[in-house]
Symmetry: none
Subunit: 290 residues, 2 copies
Amino acid sequence: MTEETMTANAPASADELRTAILERYDSLSKRLQQIARYVLDEPNEMALETLAVISERCGVQPSAIVRFAKSFGYPGASQMQRLFRDGLLSGHAGLGYGERVRHFNEAVAKKPESGADVLAEFVEGNTLALQNLGQTVSEADMANAVKLIDKAETVYVVGFRRSFPVASYLAYSLQQLNKRTLFIDGVAGLTKQQVQTIGPRDLLIAVSYHPYAEETVHAVEMASQRGARVLSISDSLVSPIAKAASLVLHVRESEVRTFRSLAASICLAQALVIGFAFAASKKKSKAHAG
Amino acid sequence: MTEETMTANAPASADELRTAILERYDSLSKRLQQIARYVLDEPNEMALETLAVISERCGVQPSAIVRFAKSFGYPGASQMQRLFRDGLLSGHAGLGYGERVRHFNEAVAKKPESGADVLAEFVEGNTLALQNLGQTVSEADMANAVKLIDKAETVYVVGFRRSFPVASYLAYSLQQLNKRTLFIDGVAGLTKQQVQTIGPRDLLIAVSYHPYAEETVHAVEMASQRGARVLSISDSLVSPIAKAASLVLHVRESEVRTFRSLAASICLAQALVIGFAFAASKKKSKAHAG
DNA sequence: CTGATGTTGGAATATGCGTTTCACACAGCG
DNA sequence: CGCTGTGTGAAACGCATATTCCAACATCAG
C-alpha cells in the first residue's frame, strides 16, 4: 500500500511536519525526497504560492506534491499548505497561532449556551488579541507615542463609552507619574469647554472604537484646529479620530459573541505609560548629571 | 467613467496601497470605504484568505472587493492580494525559527528604553495572567456571580484609582444591557450619599486592589450593614473588601516592573457581563415561552 | 417630481486550481 | 524473458474561485 490515507496521525504543525520529514526522509522515493528538500528549505513559498508555482519551482509535477502530502497523512496538499500559513501568521510568538484562531472561531461559532465557560472563551480570545498586539504595533510607533507624551506640556485624555475605562486608566496613570494631565471626563457637559483650553504645545490622547462617540471626534477636530498634537488609539486607521492624528496606534480587539474586548487596549495603554515613565526617569537623571 | 482600468499607476507595495487608500478614502463610496477599512485593518486576512471568506468577514459581496481593487488601478482583486502576500513574506523575511527566538530573547533581556520592549513584556505578562485567570476562577464562581447580578434589583458599582477603569467598564456595560445600574463615581464627593441609598435587594460590585482605597472599603462596609449583597473583585481573598462580601472573585494580575496590569480584571469583568447577558436573555425567552 | 448618474447586490460566467486518473517506466523476482 | 508491483508524468476532470454583467436601487440636480 503506497498511499495510506491515515489522516488521523498527520503532523499538526509546521515544526512537527519538519521533524516527521527528517525521520522518514531516507525511506522516501527519489522524487519525494526532492520535494521534501524544497518543503524544508522554502517554508514561505509552501505557505502562500499555488501548487502550480511550487511544482514548477522545484521541477516536479503537481501530482507529486499531492502524493507527498498524502504520504504524510494529509487528505490533500492544501491541508499541508495550511500548516505553513498558520506558522507564517504566528510569527515568533506562540506556535500554531493561525490554527488557534480558526479553532477559536469555530468553537465560538456554535452556541453552547452554557454561559459559565464564557470566561474561558474570553481568556482565549484576549490571549490571541494580545499576541496580535505585540506583532502589529511596531517599536517605532511606541517610541513615537512616548515621545509625543514626553514633549507635551499638558496631556489631555478623552474617551467615552466603551473607551472610557482605557482613557481613565491613562489619565490616572499619567497623573501618578507627575505628568500634567487633564482628563476630559464629560462631567457636567463641560467637554467642549475643557478641550478649548488645549494649545499648540499640548497633546490630546483620544481613545475611540466603532461606533465612534461624537464628543471624542469633536474633541480631536478641535484639538487639531488649535494646533495641538493628537495621539489616537483606535481600531481603524481611517476612523474619524485617525485622520487628524499625528500618530495612530492600531489595536485589534478580540470579539466574542459581538462583544468587543478591551484587554489589548488596556495592555497597550499600560505599556505606553510605563514606556513614558522610563523615558521620563532617564531624562531626569540625564538632567541631573548635566 | 466609474471603473478606469489604469493598471499603470497602481500602488506597487502594501504600504503604498495603504497610503493611497488613506488619501482617497473620503472620496470613496460607502461600501468601498467599508472595504477600505477592512483592508487597512486586516492585512493578514487580505494576504491569505480567499475573496469569499474576506467578503463574508466584512459583510460585503465579492464583486465589491473586485470593484475596490479596480478603482485603485489593479486588473483584479487577486493582483491586489499579491501585494499583501509579498508584504507578509518580506516582513518575516528569511528569519529562521531559531534566529527569531534568539532575537526575541535578546529584546526581553536588555533594559527597556524603547516602548516596544515594554509592550512585549506586557503582552507576555498579561498572557500568563489571563491563563491563570482561566484556571483559578471556577465556573461555579462565575455562575454565582452572574446569579447575584441577575437577582439584584439595582447594581451599584464602585472602584477608585487603579480599579476605576474596571468599575467604569462594568457600570457602562450593565447599563447597556438595561440592568438598573448606579455607578458610584465619586463625583462631587457624593460617594457616601450614593451608597446610602442601597438596600437589601441590591448588589454592590466592589473592585479594589492593594492598596485598597478607603472609599471603596467604606462602601462595602456600608452596603453590608444595610443588608445588601456584595460581590468583590480583588487581588486577595482576605482583602478589606473581601471579608464582608457574599462572593469574592480572585484576580491575580501580572506585574511588570512594579506596575500591575489590569488586563485580566477587564477580561473577568467582561466575561461577567456577557455571562449575565446570556442569563438574562435566556430568562427572557423562557418568560416569553411560559 | 423626474431624469440622470453613480452605486450596489446577486446571478451568470469563465478562469485557474487541486485533485484524480491512467498509461507508462522501471525495478525486483520467478 | 515475462510477470508483478511500485513510482512517475501528463492530461482530464470537477470544483471553487475570481470576475463579469445587468437589473435594481440610491443620490442628487434641475
